[in-house]
Amino acid sequence: MEMHAEEVKKHVKVYITVFVALLFLTIVTVAVSYLHLSVGVAIAVALLIASIKATLVGGYFMHLISEKKLIYATLILTVVFFIVLMVIPVSHALDPIRYNH
């Protein structure tokens, strides 16, 4: 990322804000676990919070919010393959025949 010192100074404020947001979301995710929600809801909430945190880290600390196209292209391809990896076990869980054994 091409940046000048003045721009970096502005970014430092953003880093601190993101840090506070990450700490807050960590507290939220732990607090939610004490509510003992049903497994499905708990998984959805925990993964949603983790995804928000991941977006903040990726977007601001890793500067993905303003990156070059080639990096986006690489990551889109990675996400596609990652989804394939996740679909394999999930499709297994949704297979109705599995429960007839």
């Binding site: 940046m3 700490l23 983790a50 880290v57 080639l70 990652f82 996740m86």
Partner: protein
């Protein structure tokens, strides 16, 4: 020989080479951890019962480690920002803090792992299961102090060896849950150690480059940071998946 595009961007990619290289490496890392997360899901949906992580693992310690790792990510990006503002002293301070917090993460993890290896589960031939700590171990019997239940400490239990079907600590062999827990967190710990080695080099002998090639050194810190943030990112998912769900 001069390595090309380690300071300026390559015209066709718009990136200095190390940055593209690091992102390609991170893409492969996503697939490595992705394969293990996929394995976790498959094991979990295929298991007749699956324990809640918080009944076996130490959530307060893991929360502390989450805070430590998130803080180290901020200091890492601040070390790069300091170099961008030509402040080498602050860079050293922030990268030093990043290294210390990385080490703190490993210390906490060591305590967590150690607690698992001194925690035992015993299954008797009649099907009874007792979980706790071994107080006394003899050739013909063991004395176990069961875990507290609802704030009450049960009395120690004397168990004859002949009654025991299975006696093992909470290592990876104890259950499928602990097997995948140790695999995922163990791989993550190896990544923390790898990041620490690089960061210590860049804080120490590697920092000499700042005097001769400041832009190249700043780029090195940026890509080291990308890796460190990725390690933080993996933990952001590992923490709820293993400890809270």
């Amino acid at each position: 020989m001069q390595i090309p595009y380690n300071e300026t961007a390559r015209p066709d990619t718009g990136l200095f080479n190390a940055k593209l290289g690091l992102w390609l490496f991170l893409a492969s890392e996503v697939m490595l951890f992705g394969a293990l997360f996929s394995t976790y899901v498959l094991l979990r949906v295929g298991a007749p019962v699956w324990p809640h992580g918080y009944t076996i693992l130490n959530v307060p310690l893991a929360t502390l480690n989450t805070v430590v790792l998130i803080s180290s990510s901020v200091t890492m990006v601040m070390s790069w920002a300091s170099l961008m503002m030509k402040n080498f002293g602050k860079f050293r301070l922030y990268l030093g803090l990043t290294i210390l917090m990385g080490m703190a993460f490993l210390v906490v993890k060591t305590f967590e792992y150690k607690a698992k290896f001194v925690h035992y589960g015993v299954t008797l031939h009649d099907g009874t299961e007792i979980v706790g700590h071994i107080e006394e171990e003899a050739e013909d019997h063991v004395v176990m102090l069961p875990d507290m239940k609802d704030g009450v400490q049960p009395s120690p239990v004397h168990i004859e060896r002949a009654q025991i079907k299975r006696l093992t600590n909470f290592g990876p062999w104890y259950s499928t849950f602990l097997a995948i827990y140790f695999t995922l967190t163990g791989l993550h710990v190896l990544h923390v150690i790898g990041g620490l080695v690089v960061n210590i080099y860049l804080w120490g002998p590697g920092a000499k480059m700042w005097k001769t090639e400041p832009t190249r050194f700043t780029n090195r810190i940026e890509v080291a940071g990308l890796y460190w943030h990725f390690v933080d990112l993996v933990w952001i998912f590992l923490f709820p998946v293993l400890y809270l769900l």
